[in-house]
Amino acid sequence: MTSLSPDLAPVVDIRDLHFRYDARDVLRGINLRVPRGKVVAIMGGSGCGKTTLMRLIGGQLRARGGELKVFGESIADINRERLYDLRRRMGMLFQFGALFTDMSVYDNVAFPLHEHTELPEELIRDLVLMKLHAVGLRGAAHLMPSELSGGMARRVALARTVALDPQLIMYDEPFAGLDPISLGVIGQLIRRLNDALGASSIVVTHDVQESLQIVDYIYFVSEGRIIAEGTPDEIRASTDPWVHQFVWGEVDGPVPFQYPARPYREALLGSADA
Amino acid sequence: MKRTTIDLWVGIFVAMGIAALFFLAVQVGNLRGTEIVEPYELQARFDNIGGLKPRAPVRSAGVVIGRVHHIDYDSERFQAVVVMNIDHRYTFPKDTFATINTSGLLGEQYIGMEPGGDEALLQPGDTMMKTQSAVVLEKLISQFMFSKAAEGTAPK
């Protein structure tokens, strides 16, 4: 790592992580660190393994080789109870919110509080309203998820994610499919909540421009490996062809435009069986 | 959906279910005092039991006082051995008749106890001495036809 010095043990520490799925090597030796209090982005094209990486960090998948430590504990062979203990300090925002459709916005945000604390109802009410206020949706507390727009649903889900003041917040494609205003809102919320809670965040995305504005460090994943990393300034100035193609959205480069096929001339003039 | 509304409906639902079970038990079934209390065993041998089945009632004066427990076959004497459970409250004289009767014309068969006059009573495990086998309908009909035919050819 170049210019980011961790003062304490990193929240997430990954060394040489391998993962296979159905005889396919998804991750081939990942080295990644999320220092305390920082927002780290994991970027890459579709199918590069970044979502798998996040699932591994959250314990939804089990790694086959290498070391994966979250909050200093290796979660490779951890039992369910211990995993649930760790998860109480984590929050994960799913791509489309994953709100519970049979409950109101209020009940959704109150869910972790009801399940994991014995706090009195009035206190829970205050906490829920505070969280909703932080994402700007306090007035929507009585609505049902079906009555919310995509951006609103995601913000409610964010309020739910931070309900227990987690120390590690993970975002799965938080910018996907949002209008420019909502994009800006979510981006700002990610940064502000991280700093306000003193937490660490991981953002899995391929929205480069928004991420470069809010994160502290970026890892680029391609074909199961980290092929580039750095601070936003370093990335913008990078001359690595892959990074350059990704950041500036170039049509052709290390990631080719044409799907591998026979030479064009041959296909047009050749026989019928391709 | 309010909690109280759900609770109310679930309560009604469960109450209805239990009511239905109760209805089936009492109005439809025979869950009323027809339990055979602390039964004792009696045996009876028959040449022909007709359509008698296990769990068939044993009646005295028409009232159910026991049930047929199981039916065995004695291959030495070529007889059916019927083992019955009789309610311990009811005792019978040693010379009681065990007959196989039919409920109605085509109904199921049951054992009727016709008490005799002996002072000594049947003890648990005893075999009843006096029995009457089932009436086989075909034999009855052929007897009837035979006697009708005999009538016809008898000198007038």
Binding site: F100 | V10, G17, A20, V28, N30
Partner: protein
């Protein structure tokens, strides 16, 4: 031998093997559900809600169907019995058919189609929209919180619904037999009471409905939990719930009837 002839057999063998595999999964799932049922019983509201959604909301279809089945039984039964002058046995015919067989089986089939498919769709949809994953990530066990209450809700609702089906059927039989056709009410009820044995017939029917309830509830939650996380997958899963439940009910019915009667 040409491959095209072998293909249907290969597919058949494949489906049998995968069916047995799924049976294994389903059994393990049942064990997991039972082990994680603590939450369901410690928070009765969860269970109440599920009894409401699978039981109370099935009331109408069960009561109406039960009534009609009883009425039809009486019609057919009278037609046949009157030929032998045995109309007084109509009550017996209706009551025994219902308590022993039609009550548990038909209520089970109706329950599977109405409540079972709804449960499968609900759980499948939660899976497809990542609600189950979200719950898991919030350190709340989805099997304990979502699956187990629905399972027990089904198990508790089924026997009650079957009893109500049979009871309505008997009433339907009474309405047609006595009120409409004119069979003597005294003999209708008294013959029924003398011939229908509580232990054998009524309780036997209840045992059947409990077994069916466990089967249908398990199938419904399993298919939902195991469905492919797409719209198509959920729709396939609901169909499978209804079809598998029907086959399992009829199969178990045969086994139980042979055993008990």
């Amino acid at each position: 031998m040409p491959e095209i002839l072998l293909r249907p057999f290969v597919r058949l063998g494949h489906s049998v093997v995968s069916a047995i595999w799924r049976l294994g999964f389903a059994s393990r799932f049942l064990a997991a559900i039972v082990l994680m049922s603590g939450t369901t019983f410690r928070r009765p509201y969860l269970l109440m809600r599920e009894i409401y959604f699978s039981g109370v909301l099935s009331l109408i279809i069960i009561l109406v169907s039960g009534l009609f089945v009883g009425m039809v039984l009486a019609l057919h039964g009278y037609d046949t019995l009157s030929r032998y002058g045995s109309e007084e046995w109509l009550g017996v015919l209706v009551a025994l058919s219902l308590t022993r067989e039609l009550g548990p089986v038909l209520a089970g089939l109706l329950f599977a189609s109405r409540a079972g498919s709804a449960i499968t769709a609900e759980i499948g949809l939660m899976k497809a929209t990542e609600q189950l994953s979200a719950m898991d990530m919030m350190a709340v066990n989805p099997v304990a919180r979502v699956v187990a209450p629905r399972f027990w809700g089904g198990v508790i609702s089924m026997p009650l619904l079957a009893a109500m089906f049979s009871a309505m059927g008997v009433l339907g039989g009474y309405l047609v037999g006595v009120v409409q056709i004119g069979v003597d009410p005294g003999s209708f009820w008294s013959q029924m009471q003398s011939q229908v044995d509580f232990e054998r017939d009524v309780l036997g029917g209840v045992v059947k409905s409990v077994v069916f309830g466990i089967a249908v509830a398990l199938i419904a939650v399993f298919e939902g939990y195991d469905s492919d996380a797409t719209a198509e997958g959920v729709s396939r899963a609901t169909t499978r719930t209804v079809v598998t439940s029907a086959l399992v009910i009829l199969g178990l019915d045969f086994v139980l009837t042979a055993f008990m009667f």
